[in-house]
Amino acid sequence: MAEPQALVEIRDLKRYFDVSPPPLERLLQRKPRAWVKALDGVSFTIRRGETFALVGESGCGKSTVARCLVGLYRPSAGKILFDGIDLAGLNRRKTAVPLRRRMQMIFQDPYASLNPRWRVRRIVAEPLVTHGLVGSRAERDARVAELLVQVRLSPEDGDKFPHEFSGGQRQRISIARALAARPEFLVCDEPTSALDVSVQAQILNLMKDLQSAFRLTCLFISHNLAVVYQVSDRVGVMYLGRLVEIAAAEQLFARPLHPYTRLLIDTIPRLDPVDGAAAEREPVAGEVPNPIDPPPGCAFHPRCPFADARCRAERPELIEADGALVACHAVAEGRLAPAALTTSSHPGATGRAGPSGKLAL
């Protein structure tokens, strides 16, 4: 798909991790080399100004995508285009750093992502100093104060150390640091999963405000589907290093196509079990397989109630269906119709979509 307004384009991204035994052991015990295919051919685009979310369970590779994007990991294969420029081609610091300034990241753990021995002022100013964005010390301090106010902290907080703040406040500092260099693209890796719900709401709202104020494009990584539903425009669902479905958020939650997406949506503990049967449902058995030795064909087939011989042998590619992209033979062949989930339109106290058509999972 040619998307002129794409800011980030990822093409067939692969990232393998070497988990082989040491060379001597391989030689003596004739053990083979082993690779974890954390990412095994992932392609998607993020349009300018949108929030694209990646969801999946632990080990599905969603964080690896984020880390490849911001340059913490080098991709094993594939291309990452940022504003049309191939990031892999930027080997020289001189060319890479100005581009890196345009993308920043917010990390998961607010207790680990700030240097405990630095004052907040120095932490927030680090991107400014690194990229030479401010001239004098006074200019720097003014900019830091402005940033702190933008994340609803006070300018005096610059004098304190990270341990003097609560988790939510630290995440605000993290956001201020990410915004310091005025990036266009923000990668948020589980930014609220270490926070309490009431604080999570504060941070999500803050991020939403800042995103519209600075017209940021976001990649939002999360395992929490409800959070993803609230913040994202489009969603990619990952399973064992591959994307199984990409769709607009409202569509994905209203009419999930891939059986794994349905499983995920169906298993979230809900506040208002629609009927007695829902409360008593026996969930799907099985777990995510070992990524060193993934199943052949569709990686989800051992847990999938719709799997047949083809699913066990042939790996499905993303195809267009019902306005979304889905990698599933059953959907492609028409064996599996889109699930008819009704979305309650009112955001009241019991606003969760109740699946009226219960899945035969």
Partner: protein, 317 residues
Amino acid sequence: MAELARAPIAAPRRLPRLRRFLDGDLLWSFRRSPVTVGAAVVAFVIIGSAIAAPWVAPHNPYDLASVNLMDATDPPVWLHGGSWAYVLGTDNQGRDVLSTIIYGTRLSLLVGVLAVVAALILGVALGLVAGWSGGIVETMIMRVADVQLSFPAILIALLIDGVARTMLPHNVQAEIAIYVLIVSVALSNWVHFARTVRGSTLVERNKEYIQAARVIGVRPWRIVTGHLLPNVLGPVLVIATINLATAILTEATLSFLGVGLPPTQPSLGTLIRVGNDYLMSGDWWIALFPGIWLALLILSVNLLGDWLRDALNPKLR
């Protein structure tokens, strides 16, 4: 945009540096441990007297004019024949034992401190490089460290001393003896620092604040010096304190074996060696008092190091 009220968590008020220290957990845990307070007093007396030796010591043992061979091997004051002029007696050359001890401690401490500082700089640098770069660099540094660790300090000192002796003219040897000592003690101690720092570096480098710095585009050199170094230094200070005792002891051992400081510039170890020759003839004070002094110094520094380790370890608090 909704106004977010500030969290009601009152951030701890910030006190001036001194008040914060006096108020802090460190001093509190110090005061709660009588053994530590005792050790600190002993260490203070020994180290303080060594630093202020010219004013504290009753005699100057280096001033040959003031030494009278007639006073040689006088016993301590409380024995028959002792005098208040030489409280702890005199040695075979008529030097006041107390004064030689105070001046000797000075040299012992000098060697110990310089050796630890050298070992610290070398070890921290190599540990940081090993932990940060990984791969073949790390393997090489850590293998060298392993080999180093399998040689006792004395062997290394003997080796360096031997090389220095064959390569340098005789008259220079006495002058450079102290540097040979410092280098050999430092070489045998850097491994502890390197290993600890490498370990902490491996932990810290995977923390998100380091990754954040990489994402921002900070140069690797600045990440190592600005972010990593301050965060791996805590345990290093503890090791340095404990290593100071080891270094002093190593120096004493080397001097006792005769490869350390010469009798003209006696450290505590040299004093014990010299005194050792007179033990059999009944002049026990020449060896015993430097021995006790050394034991007290090592014990008190060690106790302080242990306390520091426990006080800085949040798990034991």
